[in-house]
């Protein structure tokens, strides 16, 4: 008399908790997920193809719009690949400033993650507090380069402008204030029993699976794999700084939460070190006005807030790249979603999408 039938339900593409335009095709048995299939491509903008019709400099504003929560890291990765093609040495001051800004960007991006993740699970006030602190970072970016979201501040061979007057003090002020604010988030969430029940044991992925799927960033480190591009292939001047790479043990949503929090603390540590040792000098190397890299190819990857963001360029010796390819951490991390949600309840999908920290702009390049 009583029997259950499996149902196919669409979640998204316009669901508020799918962080953009992700559509999930769910097969449900009651409230339990039997199978799921992420459907992507609702945002496809063809940036890779478009880049082939633009000069190397003109591509930078496009990379801003890939992962729009972490534009600076994308800029940095792309410009790094071009610099590799050209064989340009970046002046140390520019490199230090790049590191400071990249780490500020990581904090800003993680704050958006924490805000939306908490909101998805049901904690409203964390959302408001995180955005308040992110605003302060965006103010720093605005006074550095004039934009709040799509910075376009990195130029081939260095940076467009030097830091404005008083910037270092402002940044230091933020760094001093930040730990007390972090404590507030932790007070609200870390031992909150609702938070614990919604995150512990949810979306578990083993280290082996994570490596096999090519996951990166906190998704990989949550499972206990110590892999960070900043340590493995140090770019810019990460070699000069002393910082730890936090790793988890259980590979669940709660571990990834703790990792991202710790990463924010480590980022702050790097920023303070860089501010203390900020060298003087040029901020831009000598670069020809017309950028024409020699024939060849280059791959450069940076540790973005979501994982390894790679840029692959092939040059045929002309002003425009012959082929452009982006390795997006969001795209790769997303493929673990069916594995993560299997057997969980529908409400947990929301938490798991949050822990993936996807930005669909970077998935549908």
């Amino acid at each position: 008399m009583f029997r259950t039938t499996e149902m196919v339900i669409n979640m998204g593409p316009q669901h508020p908790s799918t962080h953009g335009v992700l559509r999930l095709l769910l097969r449900l048995d009651g409230e339990t997920v039997v199978d799921s299939k992420p459907v992507i491509g609702y945002l496809h903008r063809g940036i890779e193809k478009l880049s082939e019709s633009k000069t190397y400099v003109q591509i930078t504003p496009l990379t801003d719009r890939l992962d729009y929560v972490a534009s600076f890291s994308e800029n940095l990765g792309y410009i790094g690949a071009v610099e590799k093609l050209l064989g340009i040495e970046v002046p140390p001051r520019a490199n230090y400033i790049r590191v400071i800004l990249a780490e500020l960007q990581r904090i800003a991006s993680h704050l958006v993650w924490l805000a939306t993740h908490a909101l998805d699970i049901g904690a409203m006030s964390v959302f408001l507090y995180c955005f308040r602190e992110r605003e302060e970072i965006l103010d720093l970016f605005e006074s550095f380069c004039g934009a709040r979201l799509t910075y376009n501040a990195v130029r081939i061979g260095g940076l467009y402008q030097d830091l404005p007057e008083g910037w270092v003090e402002e940044c230091r002020k933020f760094c001093e204030l930040f730990p007390s604010r972090m404590k507030e988030y932790e007070d609200l969430l870390t031992i909150n029993r609702i938070w614990l029940q919604r995150t512990i044991g949810i979306g578990v992925i083993s280290a082996e699976d994570a490596i096999n799927m090519g996951l990166s960033g906190p998704m990989l480190r949550g499972s206990g794999v110590k892999w960070d591009i900043r340590k493995a292939y140090p770019y810019a001047t990460y070699r000069d700084f002393d910082f730890d790479v936090p790793i988890g043990k259980n590979g669940d949503t709660y571990d990834r939460y703790l990792i991202r929090l710790e990463e924010m603390r480590q980022s702050r540590r790097i920023i303070l070190q860089a501010l203390d040792h900020l060298p003087d000098g040029e901020i831009r190397a000598k670069v020809p006005r017309r950028i024409k890299p020699p024939k060849g190819e280059a791959y450069h990857s940076v540790e973005g807030p979501r994982g390894e963001m790679g840029f692959y360029l092939i040059s045929d010796g002309s002003e425009k790249p012959y082929r452009v390819r982006f390795r997006s951490p969001n795209f790769v991390n997303l493929q673990s979603l069916p594995r993560l949600v299997e057997g969980h309840l529908v409400a947990d999908i929301v938490a798991i999408i949050g822990t993936l920290d996807v930005v669909l702009g970077c998935v549908d390049r």
Partner: protein, 160 residues
């Protein structure tokens, strides 16, 4: 570095709902902090000096002559092809000046790449202005001609 172990709450802490009160304290504390909401458009934030609004042209601040020499570098640098420059010989003095200068704000992505290659040093003729309220009922309004590039957008004030 392993992240610290999961905290086990002691029995006493659990029954007295310590974590709940800790959270409530945070929200309570924040009631007494200054408000962060800005009631736009009646209230506005102060823009930073380098703020990038739409690009505009400027005259020489002292001689009030046209700075732009119609070289077309900005049009070439623009990734969205939104600048059109047509040159003519200068009425007074040597060199060229723009006969037509159009920026299509509809396509501009506010990247600021047009400012880099402008050769009029030390003040570049094209600059990123502080104009950001550009909404309009017609699309033609976004195609901005030379006069309006110099004078800028008219501003509206709202009373509180």
């Amino acid at each position: 570095m392993h992240i610290e172990k999961r905290k086990k709450l002691s029995f006493l802490k659990r029954i007295f709902l310590i974590e709940l009160f800790k959270g409530l304290m945070v929200t309570l504390k924040n009631q007494f902090r200054p408000h962060t909401t800005v009631e736009y458009p009646k209230e506005r934030l102060v823009l930073k000096e380098r703020f990038r609004g739409v690009p505009r042209l400027r005259m020489h601040p002292e001689t009030a002559e046209e700075l732009c020499v119609a070289c077309g570098n900005c049009a070439e640098a623009c990734p969205d092809n939104c600048i059109t420059v047509v040159a003519e010989t200068r009425a007074s003095g040597k060199g060229k000046q723009p006969k037509i200068f159009i920026i299509d704000y509809e396509r501009c992505c506010l990247c600021g790449l047009c400012v880099d290659p402008c050769p009029t040093k030390p003040i570049s003729a094209i600059y990123m202005s502080h104009d950001y309220e550009l909404a309009s009922y017609t699309r033609e309004k976004f195609i901005t001609e030379k006069d309006r590039l110099y004078s800028g957008h008219e501003k509206r004030e709202y009373k509180k």
